[in-house]
Symmetry: C3
Subunit: 110 residues, 3 copies
């Protein structure tokens, strides 16, 4: 089993599309033995608050977990109902990235 | 205890502010059980050579260590007295990031 | 022995030069006890398809391995003979970065 966090803190739609394509390739390469969390904070929460194209539904079906930073939501005055229904909130995106690595997960920031 | 290095190689003041805010959130989330080194090289040494706003003093008080790359100082003809008095110099920022990870520290590049 | 992957997904020649300089500094600091793989995918494969200046030959001689993503080559309709003769192809750059970390390698994305 491979486990990796993918760090996203960019709101640029082209960048978000590229990251989702990267994660798609990761699932294609490593198959069902893969667990991925896309950790979005700062401008990167756009992946869960804006339409981001056609790749996300397939990724969610493949098992991708999208984690959105509560600190960012608070700083922007957003409530959790403003994010994608399949995304979940973590208290701090940065802390989540540290915690997962301490649990042995890999880290990618494409 | 969580330990993490934070990689900074960008001189843009807005980016540096965002990174310092990210580290602030990290301390808020993980509290005193956290050790952070901000490793600055290339253009990122601006965090230790230029005024970077109000977040740095509080972070230094919280225990943040700022490590500045000697290779970068040498390449720019800067002497260590040109950096923030609480920052310290490491021979190579890149090598320091590798060494810390081999010691079990997490890695973040926001 | 230190082992690290260096993630490259940027085609900007100035950025590629900076990354190659970073890797050069890494070899200078950690000497022969260092193993580095530069993992290029997406726009980053420019390091293996375009002229990138004078640092690459010395790095290859020092032992640097350049790994190019097959997914990227396929997406761009490129055959492996279009890449640098000393670069090698991996099925997925992203997956390679995860696999190496699971084998204990450090990760850097300058």
């Amino acid at each position: 089993m491979h486990r990796t966090v993918v760090h996203l803190n960019d709101a640029d739609p082209t960048k978000i599309q590229a990251v989702l394509q990267n994660v798609t390739n990761l699932y294609t390469a490593l198959g069902p033995d893969l667990q991925v969390e896309l950790v979005a904070h700062g401008p990167g929460i756009a992946v869960a608050t804006e339409p981001v194209g056609e790749l996300l539904p397939g990724l969610l079906e493949a098992g991708l977990q999208v984690r959105v930073c509560q600190n960012t939501l608070t700083a922007r005055g957003l409530t959790p109902d403003r994010i994608h229904p399949q995304a979940t909130v973590v208290p701090s995106g940065m802390a989540h990235l540290v915690i997962r690595q301490s649990e042995g997960w890999s880290y990618l920031h494409p």
